[in-house]
């Protein structure tokens, strides 16, 4: 039982990590809590559903197409809604509420198109999983672990090594100085929305292979992503990974003795404890504390 809970925690953690990193990449350049990130995750799952089930595309092709669509959705949200706000240099809270408006709008749009019921991509019969140190792991869960760690490594290399990644770090550290040396902030913001949304979309697609999908799935996901980013240290990418796995494990070990309905409660209790005791998170710098 314990081994199974730990394994479930790691799998949940790897999905949270994808969401949290996508969220952090966007947060680093725009510096607000982008709640609409959660709807990109939902949309990723629904893109995959449409392409695989309705259009009968190959599953690998539909995986990559859905990621591209998710990235395009991210850019579209930024251009349509956040760009006008940036032009007015609106405050963080206004951005946050606008992104919540985007979230509510798109979630209900999805519900209008696909209906409120749960859908599933899985076609064939459910296969029995592999036994591993007293726990059971399915093929799809292995796929989730492999793909998410692969994406994390690629992202890390991109941010650390590539020129665009360096420019992104520069904008995140000091947008004005970055502008002075000739980095176009709008271009960097667009890049961060592409990467962040692609990661959220990938998380949504992966989870759609594992469980059922429904229009409201993005809400809990983005909240977990934000909590993971905060307890890891907001804006820090290794922190987001650490926070995500910590959260996934804490949630799944927490429901050892109580019913699974309390997961959200556990997650937010952890968040509030962190906000009061260590608001800059595991790996965050103390300078962030001044804003809290």
């Amino acid at each position: 039982m314990l081994q199974q809970l730990i394994l479930n925690g790691i799998i949940a953690g790897s999905i949270y990590a994808l969401i949290a990193i996508g969220f952090s990449v966007i947060y680093r350049t725009v510096k607000f809590f982008n709640l609409a990130h959660g709807i990109v995750y939902t949309a990723g799952a629904y893109f995959a559903y449409t392409l695989t089930i309705s259009l009968h595309l190959n599953i690998i092709l539909s995986f990559f197409l859905s990621i591209i669509f998710a990235a395009l959705l991210g850019i579209a949200i930024d251009r349509c809604f956040y760009y006008p706000l940036r032009k007015k240099s609106a405050s963080n809270m206004i951005f946050l509420l606008a992104s919540f408006g985007v979230f509510i709008f798109l979630q209900n749009l999805i519900q209008l198109i696909y209906g409120a019921q749960i859908l599933t991509i899985r076609t064939g019969p459910v296969k029995e999983g592999h036994h591993l140190c007293g726990a059971v792991i399915t093929d799809i869960q292995i796929l989730i672990l492999v793909v998410s760690s692969l994406l994390l490594v690629i992202l890390w290399l991109f941010i650390q090594k590539s020129k665009l990644g360096k420019a992104m770090r520069a904008v995140s550290d000091d947008p004005i100085a970055a502008n002075v040396v000739g980095i176009n902030p709008e271009r960097i913001i667009m890049t961060s929305f592409v990467i962040g949304s692609a990661l959220a979309g990938a998380a949504g697609i992966l989870i759609s292979y594992e469980t059922n999908i429904e229009p409201t799935m993005g809400f809990s996901a983005i909240l977990k992503g934000i909590i993971a980013s905060i307890i890891g240290g907001i804006g820090s990418i290794p922190g987001a990974v650490l926070g995500a796995f910590f959260l996934g494990l804490a949630e799944n070990l927490g429901i050892w003795k109580i019913s699974a309905g309390w997961k959200d409660c556990i997650a937010f209790a952890i968040l509030i404890i962190f906000l009061l005791i260590r608001p800059w998170g595991f790996l965050g710098t103390k300078t962030e504390k001044e804003k809290i």
Binding site: F33, N92, M93, L97, I104, C265, F268, L276
Partner: protein, 289 residues
């Protein structure tokens, strides 16, 4: 006619909620996103006392408010120590925690099955059964709420709240214990939200956790922003318009499976539109900093 009166009763309950949130958000400038949690606590306390202990709804109403006010201390205590986005997120989280307690503590709240058969109010031995009498009762409470909140915001206490909103450091430098004032505002707001929740539960006679979700909190916040931040008349107008307007969708002959998401979509678009074009609302005096 019944239907129109029903909409009016619901609008009045939302006016109480909107006014109490406006005190926290519009007058003190604290972006609280979990207001439905307080009305949830008020509604459940009041209904459980009436159902399990057989107490009069009036006692339930009073106890429900007090429990909601106490929860205002519990929720406000961590929240007021944070700023801006983090305060929003913490109140958000506390809203989720209250919601999941209502949903998962099945032995007490019956969870998603909800509490049916909550008794209505009675005045001097007469059961309030007609919708007219209910409207009258709710209007009395709206009048009391408007009166008290108006007195609060125009008192020296209200002036301190506005000074916290405009410049917290400046009001601290004048010796005001801003944390204490912010906590007090949370308690007052929670108290009135508890009244609204209790009135709602005894009017509908059925409650379940789905009436107190985060979307509900955001709807109340949208009413505050739409009408006008930091203005009482704004809250009244905002609540009435946003309760009545979505009902018009019903007259267009939409089935409820389309009308419900449609209503949420309109709310979402309205929120985006307000944030881009007019973040202080129709007649507001404050926008989020």
């Amino acid at each position: 006619m019944e239907y129109i009166l029903h909409i009016l009763v619901i609008a009045c309950i939302y006016i109480i909620l909107t006014l109490s949130l406006n005190l926290i958000v519009g007058y003190t400038g604290l972006p609280a996103l979990g207001h439905a949690a307080f009305s949830c606590i008020g509604a459940y306390t009041s209904s459980l006392l009436a159902l399990n202990a057989g107490l009069s709804p009036w006692i339930g109403l009073f106890t429900g408010d007090c429990v909601a006010a106490i929860s205002g201390i519990v929720i406000g205590y961590p929240a007021v120590r944070l700023k801006g986005d983090y305060l929003a997120l913490a109140t958000f989280g506390l809203g989720v925690i209250v919601y999941s307690i209502a949903k998962n503590w099945v032995s007490l709240t019956r969870g998603p099955m909800g509490l049916p058969g909550i008794p209505g109010f009675s005045v001097a031995g007469f059961q309030l059964s007609g919708i007219w009498s209910y409207l009258l009762l709710v209007l009395v409470f709206v009048a009391i709420t408007i009166f008290i909140i108006n007195r609060i915001v125009n008192s020296p206490f209200g002036r301190i709240l506005r000074s916290i909103r405009e410049d917290e450091i400046a009001s601290e430098s004048l010796g005001k214990d801003t944390t204490r004032y912010k906590l007090l505002v949370f308690i007052i707001g929670a108290f009135f939200a508890g009244i609204a929740g209790s009135l709602y539960s005894h009017y509908i006679t059925f409650i379940d956790p789905s009436s107190f979700t985060l979307i509900e909190s955001i709807t109340i916040l949208l009413m505050v922003i739409f009408g006008g931040m930091g203005r009482i008349s704004g809250s009244i107008v905002g609540a009435i318009i946003l309760v009545v307007f979505p009902e018009l969708l019903r007259f267009l002959g939409m089935p409820s499976s389309i009308a419900a998401p449609m209503r949420q979509m309109i709310y979402g678009l309205l929120l985006i539109f307000l944030m881009i074009k007019r973040p202080q609302g129709i007649m507001g005096v404050y926008r989020f900093k």
